[in-house]
Symmetry: C2
Subunit: 343 residues, 2 copies
């Protein structure tokens, strides 16, 4: 069975391609009678227009690109769900690209996005990204671009983020109120704005309470491979002044902290209290249940997609970049209960 195209359809109907095309798009130039005939015939022959021919002519692809650092993180899975929902409702297609946290890949992918393949781009930048020229290039070519979650600090484009600084501040305060005197923050990258903002909030809180022995040792960077990162946490836990509170800036670091604690038989929360920025579904059934700053992943996805589609479909109406801040929520669980509550 071969697919039928417009020309063949027109021949079989003894009409011109233009008339058939117009009939299918319900043009007033075609009589109701003819339209009906054409529509029925098209359905019968299972006709559907070639999307690339249409894209070429209309200069619209009805496709957007979603560029993520990775897809294994629960946060991004949930965000994709949100994006997909909005895209599907509007009849858009989703191209997914993974940067694997590499600037070079991110750059190459963005090049691919500026040749008309997509009508817009949703992106969460890689942890390596500090230079923004590749992003600026896209903006210069007038392709709508919206950041979600991970957005550059100093780039003038729409974004949907969460209240990172405040949450960072909150986590430190909470740990300190629970009795921690030596809390640390595990960051995955000094370059990554979200980690940076969370860390800044954290530091501000610790410094405000005046309990910090060495302000330069409040934030630890676990970049590198998974193994390197595990090792770093291990060393931290074996060091002389072992922290009694840990804030994990991303899901992966929370898991690794638990793994190390389990291996080294360090009790959470008795010896170390833990709070993680994470959307882990299994947080309540971990050992012990993990306190989380839960980011609104799904809503961030839908909101970012909505911003993007506004800019794609009404570019003249929405010219100014918009920054939406969706608050994260704290879910207190046993990994950070105060000492007085131990049973």
């Amino acid at each position: 069975m071969k697919r039928i195209n417009l020309k063949e359809l027109a021949n079989l109907l003894n009409l011109s391609t233009s008339s058939v095309s117009k009939a299918l798009r319900d043009s007033h130039e075609i009589s109701e009678e003819t339209k009906k005939k054409v529509r029925e015939f098209a359905v019968k022959h299972n006709y559907s227009p070639n999307p690339y021919a249409t894209s070429l002519r209309k200069k619209k692809s009805k496709t957007i690109a979603v560029i993520l650092p990775e897809v294994a993180d629960n946060y991004f899975s949930l965000a994709i769900n949100g994006i997909q929902k909005v895209a599907e409702a509007r009849g858009y297609h989703l191209l997914i690209y993974l940067s694997h946290e590499k600037y070079s890949i991110e750059k190459a992918v963005l090049e691919e996005c500026s040749n008309g393949r997509v009508d817009g781009v949703l992106i969460s930048i890689s942890s390596e990204t500090t230079d923004h020229s590749h992003l600026q290039k896209l903006v210069n070519e007038n392709i709508p671009l919206v950041f979600f979650d991970r957005a550059p600090e100093d780039f003038n484009a729409s974004k949907v983020i969460t209240n990172d600084y405040d949450c960072g501040y909150f986590t430190a305060m909470h740990l300190i109120e629970d009795g921690c005197t030596n809390p640390v923050f595990l960051s995955m990258s000094s370059a990554l704005p979200i980690c940076h903002r969370r860390a800044e909030g954290f530091k501000a809180a610790v410094l405000a309470t005046g309990i910090a022995s060495d302000p330069n040792k409040l934030v630890h960077y676990c970049d590198g491979t998974e193994e390197e990162s595990m090792k770093k946490i291990q060393e931290l836990f074996e060091s002389k002044n072992r922290p009694d509170g840990v804030v994990a800036s991303v899901e992966r670091l929370a898991i690794q902290t638990y793994m190390v604690a389990q291996e080294s038989e360090i009790n959470i929360p008795k010896e170390v209290k833990v709070i993680a920025f994470s959307t882990l579904e299994t947080a309540p059934i971990l050992n012990p249940p993990l306190s989380t700053i839960t980011q609104p992943a799904y809503d961030t996805g839908t909101k970012a997609a909505e911003l993007l589609f506004q800019r794609i479909e009404k570019p003249l109406q929405y010219t100014q970049p918009e920054c939406v801040v969706l608050p994260s929520i704290f879910m207190e669980r046993k990994s950070c209960i105060p000492k007085s509550h131990f049973s």
Copy 2:
């Protein structure tokens, strides 16, 4: 800054579009000197061909569709990673569609795939899918199709699956050896072949040992919403002959089993032992650590993608459907240790 196209490039170079096109594709019809000039000029002006014009002409989109039931499940995230790696290496683009476990959506998406938008399709079918006409339609239109993980039983196409029956058998045997006398299997759908095969293996093992009081109560179906499913597990745990062993056929059911047990203060593994088909990263740090049948998600993704690309790029060479079975591996953890091992 406007994007430049072939025609403009040709005008600026005082050449014809055909010559420029040939030059860029390194045709022998063009002199080395001209080629060099064209290439340099193209780079300088940041030229890259419009993909849809190329697709239209070449009748190749360099794009494949990946159709998944959902993306929140860790298994699918890992599979996407594998698929993406292979696709990227070959210069293919990835369109992602979610069926949300609905047959109607799956069908609509497949319609979209048969109009030339994609060169091939990778699919894991929805739990509702029993009819295969929508799949057959695609095959009839000569679009390569490869199943991964969730494949229909009786459909003649390539697929990459795992040894579900054997693993189902194994889980039952293991629970029984650990002292369970009333193990049950939680299936998410009677229609879903992977669940069915896993359940069949499970049943066969239980029946072989002759411990089953009622062979019809070995498999419980947790379809429906998350709430309904939770309720069903809850009822099961509150029932007169509460199971002392549970096999969760998918990740979600494992999480729900843990949630219910935690709420009802039922001790795992003392009162109920649990084994789950799952690729949960957090399995080792759950309370208690969860024994899993871990499917080779990433490898399934890469293998399925490779099969698909073979069929896309060498359709004459690969005509017969191929079925690849990648074994899952059992990771024993505390959720199913025998009674004698309790400390």
